[in-house]
């Protein structure tokens, strides 16, 4: 059983900390101009961080204890291929989900 005090300390600190992270630039910097080199780096935030976040989850999924999993690899490949060809978010999600369930069913 988790201690209730620990839960509440975590909930409040995580909430406050997350808000601070979101507020720091948009709230404090506001409309002061930011240097070109900083903006140039920020343009690549999402395309760098999101793939970095999911790459280990695709190759070594926590759900399989970190073992390479064919259905999950195939699902990621299908989602990537459809998103690449069509730029459709829903299409990509459906392709990934469909492939995952088909794969899990085939592997049994």
């Amino acid at each position: 059983m988790i201690d209730k005090g620990d839960i509440w300390l975590t909930v409040l600190a995580l909430g406050a900390g997350s808000y601070l992270l979101r507020f720091v630039f948009i709230g404090l910097v506001g409309d002061r101009p930011m240097p070109a080199w900083l903006l140039r780096h920020l343009r690549y935030t999402a395309v760098a961080v999101l793939p970095a976040l999911i790459a280990p989850m695709v190759l070594w999924p926590p759900a399989t204890g970190g073992a390479i999993d064919l259905p999950r690899l195939a699902a990621a490949a299908a989602a990537t291929a459809v998103a690449w060809r069509t730029h459709s978010v829903i299409g990509s999600i459906l392709a990934g989900g469909g492939t995952l369930y088909l794969g899990l069913w085939l592997v049994g």
Binding site: L12, L42, P56, A75
Partner: protein, 232 residues
């Protein structure tokens, strides 16, 4: 006049597809939190003030492993460091908004609002500040309340959801769908590739720090490729 083609409604339409992912993800968080021993109020309150799935999963996972509270908080906030980067990336577009408006914008900074908005602002360079704010809250409208609602439902149904649904993989699939359309230039692709390689090489770093370091490396690579492209 509010037409269905106004920036607000364009934003709503851009945000809507993500409910497909957010709903199961929110449900799953409610379930996991309930299984870890959080009360429904604690789970819903956490979703309402944190609004960041990956960090919430990290926190609950570590809490149930009885990790020291300082480590739990530090690890979950590290996962959320990217929100500061999003906040910075939105600032050139939304930084002129009033202070209360910026406080509200900050609350809604998540992967999807950031990704949809920056993509739209780059496409619609002629948009006024008002248009950009309208689009941003348009994207937020279907997402923010539903995150809380589905956490609530998840905590209600608890253990009724079988592991066979493999909801763990909802996150990678969503992020792939989100990020692939952003690969517009060689610099974007170089940033992504560098981020992936660095992340896979740095999994030995504790507390998800590898993801942050890999993200920074990817950003530097992307910016450098862009700079050389511009110079050439």
């Amino acid at each position: 006049m509010q037409t269905t083609n106004s920036p607000y409604w364009q934003g709503v339409r851009a945000g809507l597809p993500f409910i497909v992912i957010l709903a199961p993800f929110g449900l799953l968080f409610g379930v996991v939190a309930a299984e870890a021993g959080l009360s429904m109020f604690e789970a819903v309150f956490m979703s309402a003030i944190t609004v960041a799935g990956a960090a919430q999963f990290t926190a609950v996972q570590l809490l149930s492993e009885q990790a020291p509270t300082v480590i739990v908080i530090a690890a979950a906030l590290t996962v959320n460091l990217r929100l500061a980067m999003y906040s910075a990336a939105l600032t050139p577009y939304l930084g002129q908004a009033s202070a209360p408006m910026r406080a509200l914008i900050a609350y809604c900074v998540v992967d999807q609002t950031y990704a949809c908005s920056v993509a739209a602002y780059e496409t619609h360079a002629h948009w006024t500040l008002r248009d950009r704010i309208a689009f941003y809250f348009g994207v937020s409208t279907p997402l923010m309340p539903n995150w809380i609602v589905f956490t609530f439902i998840g905590a209600l149904v608890g253990e009724a959801i079988p592991d066979a649904l493999a909801l763990d993989f909802a996150i990678p699939i969503t992020f792939i769908a989100l990020v692939m359309p952003m690969m517009r230039t060689g610099a974007h692709r170089a940033a992504a590739l560098a981020g992936i390689v660095a992340s896979l090489s740095l999994t030995w770093l504790p507390y998800s720090l590898g993801i942050i370091v890999a993200g920074v490396i990817g950003m530097i690579v992307g910016a450098e490729v862009e700079r050389r492209g511009a110079a050439a």
